[in-house]
């Protein structure tokens, strides 16, 4: 036991004496959460609108006021020509053009409908459709208030859109689970594999092999520090997301932690597996990057929904542990569903942990290859 303690202590010394490791391990989760939470947001907020209003009557004034009253839209400029609108949109100065038709109020009151154009910058289609969705729902309700029953029957079908679990369409609800999956995977798999491969590369592994130390013991002492750090990171992420991003843990915290621990085990054993394939630190980093990071980012449903993917990618996604983890975290944390809703995800992860752990322990030889 004393020996084990010395081995673990040595790993911690390696980590804390390497500035980069500390930075990656402890700061990255914080940076990612803040980055994803604030900077890379998909939320509609402070969108600049250019308004082309040839009628300038009570109705258009009211609609414009309604639209720009909240924190979503901000009037940028009043314009008079299509060319102006085009230039503003092209130059990226505004993201939305609101274009009233002439004699807007008159048409609305007497004909029951009036034409109103919304033009958004489609280079970011997700963003554009959110903007249009927001704007049109505000405008509809304003129109309704103005024209009341005079509204044309065709125009009154106002969609009542309500987003469950995330009524404000906060994007942090989407990527807190994603960031959790990403960071735990990265720290466990990448850092563990690098720390083992480093010993191969520097030749210390040779010395350790030519000693009575059992390989299993060696592996365990490598894994423990990264396990501890992962738990620290998990805590950090949860605290940040609850108190900084305001994403609540609506479901059972206990099961969320259990689920995360299982996922940490899966990631650790993948790291061990990588370390037995790679013989240089660069190779370990590349394998972790290509085999773990990319799929986690792209195929886990963190950024793009899996159900929209072509069949083949959907099949591949099933083999990515992070996909199951992120799905389960969404259910437990955001939707607040009970444990029995994540039984599938949890069992898949447990099975994956068992398979990878067995494979990695088997692949660790007590001789050089």
């Amino acid at each position: 036991m004393r020996q084990f303690f010395i081995f673990v202590r040595k790993e911690f010394l390696h980590i804390f004496r390497d500035g980069r490791s500390v930075l990656i391990l402890l700061l990255m989760p914080v940076v990612q959460i803040i980055l994803f939470g604030f900077a890379l947001t998909n939320e509609v907020k402070n969108v600049k609108v250019a308004i082309m209003d040839p009628s300038r009557d009570a109705a258009t004034t009211m609609i414009t006021e309604r639209l720009t009253a909240g924190e979503y839209f901000r009037p940028y400029k009043m314009i008079t020509t299509e060319q102006q609108a085009d230039a503003l949109l092209r130059g990226g100065e505004v993201s939305l053009i609101l274009n009233y038709s002439e004699r807007f109020r008159e048409k609305l009151m007497h004909q029951g409908s009036a034409r109103l154009g919304l033009t958004a910058d489609g280079t970011d289609p997700n963003m554009a459709s959110s903007i249009i969705l927001y704007a049109s729902s505000i405008i509809r309700s304003a129109e309704l208030d103005i024209a009341g029953k005079n509204l044309h029957s065709g125009g009154v079908a106002i969609p009542n859109v309500r987003l469950l679990y995330n009524p404000q369409m906060k994007s942090s609800y989407n990527f807190v689970p994603g960031v959790m999956g990403l960071i735990l995977m990265l720290i466990c798999a990448m850092m563990t594999s690098i720390s083992i491969v480093r010993e191969k590369e520097t030749g210390t592994m040779e010395v350790l092999l030519v000693s009575p130390v059992r390989p299993l013991f060696l592996i365990l002492s490598k894994v423990v520090p990264y396990f501890v750090l992962s738990v620290v990171n998990l805590t950090t992420i949860l605290l940040l997301s609850v108190f900084l991003l305001g994403v609540p843990v609506t479901g059972s915290l206990f099961w969320l932690v259990i689920l995360s621990l299982v996922f940490i085990f899966v990631s650790l054993s993948m790291g061990l597996l990588i370390s037995s394939i790679a013989s240089t630190q660069v190779a370990a980093m590349l394998i972790s990057g290509l085999v773990l990071m990319m799929p986690v980012m792209l195929l886990s449903g963190m950024i793009y929904p899996i159900s929209n993917m072509p069949d083949i990618l959907q099949v591949i996604a099933q083999f990515i542990p992070a996909k199951w983890y992120i799905e389960a975290v969404r259910k437990l944390m955001i939707q607040g569903l009970p444990l029995n809703s994540v039984v599938t995800e949890l069992s898949v992860l447990v099975a994956m942990a068992a398979i990878y752990l067995t494979a990695s322990l088997r692949s660790f030889r007590d001789r050089l290859q």
Partner: protein
């Protein structure tokens, strides 16, 4: 030699790396308490042999034992009783001197104090730098630390793979003195080197070329088995001398050796007039300002001869 006196024995060991023969039917034996040198240039197969003897890799064929333990079957027992210092710097550069030493002590489940007398002589020079990171030590000090770490569990057999490569001459000499002192503890030492002059410091040596043993004997015995008469020649135009000498029948071989050329002459064709007649012959060919003398062969000369013979047989 009784079998109980044998510490390390290899019989017919072969190892191939893809298509390259690293070891080719190699056999040798090392007696207990002996300092045994594996002498050969880079790529001769020394490191591969070390890895096989230290149970790191398995040979393709052949058997080997360490203190009676089979390297394949009893590898766990072997790992308890040997110390190994690989060719490259294999300590933790980010740990301090003291941390390295106590870590390797714990690897073997001993305390630094247990065997401190054994390493005291070696470690006392670096002890003042106990809290310095190992990566910031000089080459000589790194070697001392690595040796201390390899000895901390008092092994019966110590394997040192090119311990003096890349170390300055003063530290090299000092290192060999330390090994000499270790012998008094009865530790069997197997050491490899590509510096031929270091062979003289061993009790017995094996000259290794391309995975085969050319000769295995005491350094004296190796030199005594040299079959030719050796001359040294030096002069103004070394290049033309070399070309000229290579064309003579009685000259078995001629090669540059530092500032001179060494000429191996078949003993039977050599007599006390030979140098004079050679001088005359060379002068007739237009060579000027050169000197010739008889010299005693060194291990390197033996290595050159034996490896030439080996090729001749094939």
């Amino acid at each position: 030699m009784k079998s109980s006196d044998i510490s390390v024995e290899a019989k017919g060991v072969s190892k191939n790396y893809s298509s390259v023969k690293a070891l080719d039917d190699l056999s040798l034996s090392v007696q207990k308490g002996e300092m045994f040198g594996l002498i050969g240039p880079d790529g001769a197969g020394k490191s591969t042999l070390f890895r096989i003897l230290t149970t790191l890799i398995l040979p393709d064929s052949g058997v080997a034992t360490i203190e009676g333990f089979d390297i394949k079957r009893d590898y766990k027992s072997i790992r308890r009783i040997i110390g190994y210092m690989p060719g490259r710097f294999s300590l933790y550069g980010d740990l301090t001197v003291d941390e390295n030493l106590s870590f390797f002590a714990s690897v073997f489940n001993v305390k630094v104090a247990d065997n401190y007398p054994l390493i005291e002589n070696i470690f006392k020079d670096i002890a003042p730098f106990g809290s310095r990171r190992a990566s910031r030590l000089s080459g000589g000090m790194k070697q001392k630390l690595a040796l201390s770490c390899a000895l901390i569990h008092k092994p019966s057999v110590l394997f040192l793979d090119e311990p003096t490569t890349g170390v300055d001459p003063v530290s090299r000499r000092e290192f060999w003195q330390m090994l000499e002192r270790l012998k008094t503890y009865g530790i069997t030492i197997v050491v490899s080197t590509s510096y031929m002059d270091e062979a003289l410091l061993c009790d017995r040596v094996a000259l290794i070329k391309e995975g085969r043993v050319l000769s295995s004997d005491s350094p004296r015995g190796v030199i005594d088995s040299y079959q030719n008469t050796l001359l040294a020649i030096w002069g103004d135009d070394m290049h033309s001398l070399l070309k000229e000498l290579r064309s003579y029948n009685e000259v078995k071989s001629v090669y540059s050796f530092g500032q001179e050329h060494h000429i191996a002459i078949d003993k039977k064709l050599y007599n006390h007039n030979y140098i004079d007649s050679l001088t005359q012959k060379l002068e007739e060919r237009g060579e000027r300002n050169f000197h010739i003398k008889v010299i005693a062969p060194t291990i390197e000369d033996c290595y050159m001869e034996f490896s030439a013979n080996k090729e001749g047989y094939e």
